[in-house]
């Protein structure tokens, strides 16, 4: 597969996801459905695609600038921010720290069952 082939693959899977999204009415975004389809395709083909890894890695590495047009949209959200800004800040801080706490605690707890001394050496 070439670089262009990898780009075509990503676009085709996004398109398939978008079609499924529109036809089924599932509120899962087309791009997320496309991601799930691509995992399925990778599982079916069972081989490495270096150019796909390169293209998706390049996109992930440059995600930040792709958010900018959306983030600038805050210019029109003054009302929501003055009304709920403090609540949003509080909710985000509490939710983030609590999620760190719960995920790490549960992972540590569950690790005991899956490793149960079996590969304590690793």
């Amino acid at each position: 597969m070439t670089m262009l082939g990898a780009i075509a693959l990503l676009l085709v899977f996004q398109l398939c996801g978008e079609i499924i999204h529109r036809l089924s009415g599932v509120p899962l975004p087309g791009s997320v459905i496309g991601m799930i389809l691509l995992i399925g395709w990778l599982a079916l083909t069972r081989r490495e695609w270096p150019s796909l890894t390169a293209v998706s890695g390049w996109l992930t590495a440059h995600l930040s600038i792709m958010f900018i047009p959306a983030a600038v949209g805050l210019i029109d959200e003054g009302d929501a921010l003055t009304q709920y800004g403090i609540a949003l800040v509080l909710a985000t801080i509490v939710s983030t720290v609590l999620t760190l706490f719960v995920t790490a605690s549960v992972f540590r707890w569950a690790l005991r069952f899956s490793e149960g001394g079996k590969d304590a050496a690793t």
Partner: protein, 230 residues
């Protein structure tokens, strides 16, 4: 402004401002507060404001950037697939911790906003706050929320997570880098992952896994909830 030149003008302005923000971020050794999006966004808002440009024309002109988010989300399949051996080996802790973390993130954020009497469009905007930014924006759009607000919330969550993860885990005496990394990725997506890679390569690998899995899991969970609640 001549309509024909609008994409060229605003893409040029956006790239120049972003590159400036990114070099400041690099100079700060990638401090979470100096994230290029956090630095560039206020500058661009000021430019739009003082030039009297309405947001719609800016958004349309810079659409090529937003468009790339779609294929980028599809491409998140690759890191998940490449970590399949890890997922299989630690399926139990990964599955349980992912479910617990994702549910905690959604319920705590939505619960607090409910307590403040926030309307539904704000609730569905904050619900995907633990997912990576492009997925949160897509989910906010799909559920009738506000994508720009979702981007701001998720970036802020990333800053908070990136700064609190290490001291919190030390306080909790979690020494296992798999648990630390995975939690950072689930709760604080790319910021948590970047922080985890600074601390330890194993933590980084588990953080990127946590981020990718949570993007799929939270999106699926929220879309099912969206179907049930109409």
């Amino acid at each position: 402004m001549i309509a024909l030149t609008a994409p060229l003008l605003w893409l040029a302005v956006t790239f120049v401002v972003f590159e400036g923000a990114d070099s400041l971020s690099r100079a700060s050794n990638r401090h979470p507060f100096a994230h290029p999006v956090l630095l560039a966004t206020p500058v661009l808002i000021a430019i739009l404001y003082f030039s009297g440009t309405d947001y719609r024309s800016y958004y349309d002109a810079t659409f090529p950037l937003s468009f790339l988010l779609g294929p980028a989300v599809v491409g998140l399949a690759v890191p998940i697939w490449e970590k399949r051996a890890l997922i299989r080996r630690l399926a139990l802790p990964i599955g349980i911790a992912l479910s617990a973390g994702a549910v905690t993130a959604i319920i705590s954020a939505v619960g607090i906003m409910l307590a403040f009497g926030a309307p539904q469009d704000i609730l569905v905007t904050i619900a995907p706050r633990a997912t990576t930014t492009p997925v949160a924006m897509a989910m906010a759009t799909a559920l009738g929320g506000v994508p720009s607000l979702a981007a701001a919330i998720v970036l802020f969550a990333g800053v908070v997570g990136g700064m609190t993860a290490t001291p919190l885990f030390n306080l909790m005496k979690v020494t296992d880098y798999r648990a630390r990394g995975f939690a950072a990725g689930v709760s604080a997506h790319g910021f948590g992952t970047a922080r985890a890679f600074q601390v330890d390569p194993t933590a980084g690998a588990f953080a990127s896994l946590g981020m990718a899995l949570n993007a799929v899991f939270t999106a699926t969970l929220l879309s099912m909830a969206g179907l049930l609640l109409g």
